[in-house]
């Protein structure tokens, strides 16, 4: 593939996937600035490692994995004080109201309280309608682990979101 063709392919990847990657990055980081930087660095890394993309239909999974790894390595903020132990919220909650009002900001606030490994699985599940098998491939973890993280992460999220006035655990005392 010539440089010109490669440039066209990269541009096509940007066209097709940048919105999804930005949203994924935003939901992971909770910051618009970090999301922009993550998205940019993901494409830069993809361009640098262009030869690694073997199957065109796996491009989104490939880019998602790059972004998630970049976030883990460089962008993740110290979580002390912001993340709550999953055990504190992961009790069974079968009576949650399905019609509880839910805004994007409330959702983000709840996501920010999830531990990183649960957050990535839950965001992929809801954002992209990914199956647990696809999530396992992207996160490079066993299927059973993904199922467990999805179950516990979603339960925690439901618990966090059903509170009408959630306690802001990130606020300074």
């Amino acid at each position: 593939m010539s440089d010109g063709q490669a440039q066209i392919e990269i541009s096509r990847l940007v066209e097709e996937h940048y919105e999804f990657l930005y949203r994924f990055a935003y939901r992971l980081s909770g910051s618009p600035q970090d999301a922009e930087d993550l998205t940019q660095q993901t494409f830069v890394a993809a361009q640098r490692n262009w030869g690694q993309l073997r199957e065109g239909d796996k491009a989104r999974a490939w880019l998602t994995a790059i972004l998630r790894n970049l976030w883990r390595k460089s962008f993740r903020r110290p979580e002390a004080g912001a993340v709550i132990p999953l055990e504190a919220v992961a009790e069974p909650a079968d009576d949650f109201p399905a019609d509880v009002p839910l805004t994007s900001e409330e959702l983000q606030a709840a996501l920010n309280q999830l531990p990183e490994e649960y957050r990535a699985a839950v965001v992929l599940f809801y954002l992209e309608d990914q199956s647990y098998r696809e999530i396992a491939e992207i996160l490079e973890i066993p299927i059973g682990t993904v199922m467990s993280r999805l179950s516990r992460g979603k339960t925690a999220l439901r618990r966090l979101l059903r509170v009408e006035h959630p306690v802001d655990l990130t606020a300074e005392e």
Binding site: Y18, Y22, R27, T39, D94, F125, Y132
Partner: protein, 261 residues
Amino acid sequence: MDCQSARSMLDASRPDRRDWQEPELREAAQHALNCGPCEGVLSERDIFDRRLSATMADVAIPAGLKEWLLQTLAAKPIVPPVAIEVPPRFRLSRRAWLVMAGTLIVALLGGWAYWFLGRGGVTLNEVYADINSRFPLTRERISLEHLRPFNGRFDATITDPRWIDAVTSEPVGLNLFSLWGHDAAIYRFAVGRSRSLSGLLILMDAHAIEDPPTSPVPTRRHSRYDPRPQVTWRHGDQVYVCILERGTLDEVLRAMYGGTK
């Protein structure tokens, strides 16, 4: 499968339930399809999941993001895949393989010989430990019937003049630390009036022991862990260990040397 387990597992499936046929979820799905309460809870979760999916995607894309990305990428040259020169595979000739295999075999045999045919030497403590384990303390006479006549590589003729006439048997051999011939000779001895004091006299080559005794007269071994009284001494190139069966050490030493050592 109970309700809680089924609900927990099915939480990993998508709201349209197309994952319910997956092998991991089949049993849980079967439960849910036949369980009214579970079906109700899961239906509510599906509704909530759909709403959450819509909210999750509710993220405004910054204006101009795509153009900025494209400009950034255009400014960075695409690095073509580097053709890595793989050096020609290092191949050994048949002769080299044979030499290596021969060296390895010799080394293995050498190691085996070192450990099993004869180590560089043993300490006196190791000799004591071996003897004590082979001849456990009993009230009965120590049996030597299972041992073969001595055929070791050193001269096991008793040279200590005081003990030459004390022995009452031909020597049998013992492999204490080598498989290559006997390295200890065992005699029975009996001394004293009516030869009432008896035991075993073990004879070894002093060069095979790292720390042979230096005393030419029997020296009592001071160790509370020894099951029976023992004395040891050196005469020329020979090391002697005496184990008592009948009588006391003092009686034997008095009979042989005229006093207690």
